[in-house]
Structure formats: C-alpha cells, structure tokens
Amino acid sequence: MRTFLLFLLFTFNLLAVDAVFSIEKDVDAKTTLSLLEDTSTAGSSQHHQKMFHLLINDLKMSGHFTVDEQARRGDFSEGSMLPPELHDREYVLKYSYSPSGTKLDIKLVRTFDNTVFFQKGYSINVAARYPFLAHNAIVDINHALGYDEISWMRRHILFSKYVSSRQSEIWIADYTLSFASKIVRGGLSLFPKWANTEQSAFYYTSYNDYLPTLYRVDMQTGRSKKILSSEGMLVCSDVSHDGERLLLTMAPHGQPDIYEYYVNSGKKKRLTTFSGIDVNGKYLGDESRIAFVSDRTGKANIYTKYIGSSSVSKAAHYGYNNSSCDAFDQYILYSVKEGAATNIYLGSVNSSYVRPLTSNGINQLPRFSNDGKVVLYIKKSGRKNSIGYMNLATNQNQLYPMLSGQIQSIDW
C-alpha cells in the first residue's frame, strides 16, 4: 500500500512542471556550445561578468543549447586557433563586449572547420540596458541556426508593483530583470498593458483622479492621453492585434462588465451583462470570441463567448476557483486555487485538454509570450515575488526574484 501511495505521489508530481523542478529532454539532441570572451576587452566594462551570465542564461532558456558554463578568454579575430578543449563542441560563441558597455560583437564559430557561421554587432544608447545586447545576440544566433524563434527574449516586460498603501509604481524591464527602470511613480497607477505589438505605447489605470481613469502613454513622444474614466473600476484587459480595439473591464453603474472599446472612434459596446462579476476579457483566435473570468456559478471561473452572442461556455476544465486568465489563439492559461496553493494550468477552449504547469506555492498572473511558446507568471513566497518563465516546448524554466514590492499586474 505504501509503495502504491508513493508511486501515486511521484506520478502526480511528474505531471506538473514547476520553476524549481525541471525535466530536460533530449539533452543529446541539443547543440553544444562554449563561450569565448575577447581577451583584448575582457573585464573592461562594469557589466562584464553579468554579460557572460546573461549569454549563458539566454542560451539555456532557449532550450536549444547545451552550454558549457566555463568562462574562457581568447583571440576574437576570425580564423584564430580555438582552445583544444573546445574541439568537441559544435560551436564556439566568441564575443567582445566594449569597455563603454554599449557595444557587443559576436562571432559564432563552427568548430569542425573553424569558420565563422554568423557574426553581428549590437549597440545600445546607455550601458544600463546592456541585457538587450545579450538577448538580441542570442535571438539572432538561434535564428541563424534555424531553431524555433525565441524573439520573446528581446521584448520589454511592463509591470506595476505596490510599494506601500495606496502607492504603486510602473516599471519596464528585460525579461531577466537585469535591467529595470521605473517609468511611473507616486500615487496609485495600476494595470499597465502594452498598446501594440511593437511596445511603442502602453495603457494604465490611474487612481490619482476622483474616478479610475485610463491613460495611454506613447513611448516615442512621451505624450499621455486620457482615454476615459469610469466609476467603480477600469482596466484595459487586452488589446487587439491591430491595436484598434481594447477589452476593458468597466463598472459605470457599479456593475463590473466587459466592454469593447474602439480606439479611433471612442465608441464602446458592452459584451457581458451578467449581474455578478465579469472581468479579465481576452481575445481568442481571430478575435471574434473572448475568454473571461466570471462568478456566474458562485465561484470565479473561466468562460468564453462569441462577441455579439448571448450564450456562454465554460472553458476551464479543472478547478473551482479560477480567478485569472490569459489567452493565445485557442489556448488559455488560468490560475486555480487549490487549498493554500494557487497553481497555473494550460487548457484549450476547443477541447478538454488540461496541463498543469506548476505544482506548489502561490503562482498567479499567467501570461503567454507574444508567440504563445513561453509562459510568464508571478510566484509568491510570503511578501517576496519572483517572475517565472516556462518554455512550454522545451520545459526550460527559470525564476527571477524581485528585490522589493508586490507585483500588481504584468504584461510583455
């Protein structure tokens, strides 16, 4: 009996992939690679060590490389001899990180014939944003080798965090939080959401006026524009692919419902009319259908409906208290309260498919990457927050702890 119970426990654990527990498959099938830093510039910049670790981290997070974590220095020039101990690798990534911290040159050398397979230079304006040098380089190397795209790595994440009662801040960061910068502070500013796929603008809700007010901030011009206000609450939950329609949760008469807002005309239409809670609208597929959270059966759960239709379908096939969701194409992510734990599940709105993604602790605010291949989420441990990532295709996962603050909402 004990053996049977142990077997069951082990089996259930294997069904879930958590940030602290990863199963790596097909290690032999991954490309072997070592790094070699240019001797002439090595150690000359402030972020020299961090650059090495970022390159290693990005290569591992891609799920396509078996990376040698030994730091080495050598000749950066083309055709120079490679150290003998690297001859059994498939590739050597030579890199030269400038003393200013704003330039990175890379050469991907194929080991067996010592030829440069790919090379490129990257620059940034200020050294503090050095992580984007590494992220862009690894995205390009991955692309050059023909692997599945990992362009999500070079996107900015946008999040709000509480710093004290009635006080929050909005930050942008790279996915590892190695670069993070406060962009809105003072008062209460919540629910930031990128306004388009280019990340050239964002929406957020300000509580610094008498009523919750939605603003749009253009990152290029710095202009902010008031969109609308609503009594009760106001959240921009999703933005259509073309950026022209928003799904808002509003409560003009004290009743939280989902509205579709047309950016150009300023017109809006109410999509849900249930007398309880309908929130967190997310476009599905061709954007004629939405997923959303509702308490229409007494507890929060995930439902779908076609825009303009009155009928509603339950979408989450697991859990009885599911208060947060995200959507990509026909797939949904949702958080499930399970006793003291909150876990994240992946499901399909067209079938009963369910896949647990976390297995313990408090895991909230799941978000798909723009290509649907990676899941971002927040893992809470007491007052500590970490941003976690799970690569759905490769099972690679990682947690990045935050130094302070409670994350309120996040987008990328």
Binding site: T102, K103, K120, Y122, S123, I124, N125, V126, A128, R129, L133, N136, Y162, S165, R166, K182, I183, V184, R185, G186, G187, L188, L190, S200, S206, Y207, N208, D209, Y210, L211, P212, V217, M219, Q220, T221, G222, R223, S224, K226, E231, G232, M233, V235, S237, T249, A251, G254, P256, I277, V279, V293, D295, K299, S323, S324, L365, I378, R383, Q406, S409
Partner: protein
C-alpha cells in the same frame, strides 16, 4: 490639469531626451542591420541599435499624491466581509443604519460620499478589484435603501492596494482588509 501637464513634460523629457536628440528606430530588414535616427554622436556603423527608448534613463514620472478629496468620517464605521464574499450579512445591519444616518446628514450639508471596496492580498488580479467593487456596491445599496441619496454616492474599488493591516501575512490581518470604507468628501 497640473498633474497631467507635469506628467507629459516629464515623459517627453524621459523618452526623447534633449530636444536635439532623436528617438531610436530599428532597421532590421537584413542581417547587417543598422540603426536609424539614433542619438546624434552615438551612431556606430555596422551595429544594430537594440535600444528603442533613447539615451535618457527612464523614471521620475511623479504624481501629486493628493487623492483629490478630504476626509472627515465622523463616526462612520467600516463593514467587513468573509473570504470571497460581497454580501452584507444581517449582523452588519446596525453598522449600516449608523452609517446611513451620519451620511444622510453629511449629504444634506453639501458633502458627497465615496465608498471604497477593499480586498485582502490573496488575489492580485482583476477579479480582486471586481470583488472590492461588489462590496462597495452592496454597501451603497444598503444605505440607499435607508434613505441616502444615490446620486451623492460614488463607489470605487481599491482592490488590495490599500490594506488596513500590513503587520503580518495572516488570516487575522487579511480579515481586517476585506472591508468597505465610507469617505465623506467635502
């Protein structure tokens, strides 16, 4: 208006840098991408600029922290709720009657009432804000039934953003945060 102007000016300064500088854009049409419109003096041939937000650091977007209304609650009491609930239970009736009487007098004297719905920190999503809103709405309905003028009341959900108790991460503390507060706005 002042706040909006301040924010706009600061953001313009932050994201675009000095007036003589341009914001970066990328040209990634081929493998030898170059940057366009880069900050004057920093353009480097043969390098793809991967930094879309100009040369200045982000930050310093400050708000006036005045929430825009004064508070003088004069004997009005909070109403507390069970986990995930937004129904005002019968034992809360004395509090509702007490609050309705005080608020009615305040409105007659020319004040407005703002009802804030609050939640504990076990949820941080939109649903939590909707829960806070439903609590505020339930409180509004309860005092309106007792004669308070509905047009003088505004309801807002504060979600988990304004905890009354921050001393521990316990149920006892959370219970103090699942509440409705009544603000008399002068």
């Amino acid at each position: 208006m002042k706040k909006e102007l301040m924010m706009t000016l600061l953001l313009v300064a932050l994201f675009t840098g000095c007036a003589s500088k341009k914001v970066d854009t990328l040209d990634i049409t081929d493998g030898t991408a170059t940057s366009q419109g880069m900050t004057e003096g920093t353009e480097v041939r043969g390098y793809q600029n991967v930094d879309p937000y100009g040369s200045e650091n982000h930050g310093n977007v400050d708000y006036n922290q005045d929430m825009g209304y004064g508070e003088a609650n004069g004997g009005v009491k909070n109403i507390y709720f069970a986990v995930d609930q937004y129904v005002i239970t019968p034992e809360k009736l004395p509090t509702v009657i007490n609050n309705a009487n005080i608020l009615q007098q305040a409105i007659k004297a020319g004040s407005r009432v703002k009802i804030e719905g609050h939640c504990d920190a076990t949820g941080t999503d939109e649903y939590n804000y909707a829960l806070g809103l439903r609590r505020a709405k339930a409180a509004k309905d309860a005092i309106v039934i007792r004669g308070v003028k509905p047009s003088a009341i505004t309801i807002v959900s504060m979600g988990e953003s304004a905890p009354a108790c921050t001393s521990s991460y316990s149920e006892a503390c959370f219970a103090k945060n699942r509440r409705v507060e009544f603000k008399i706005v002068n």
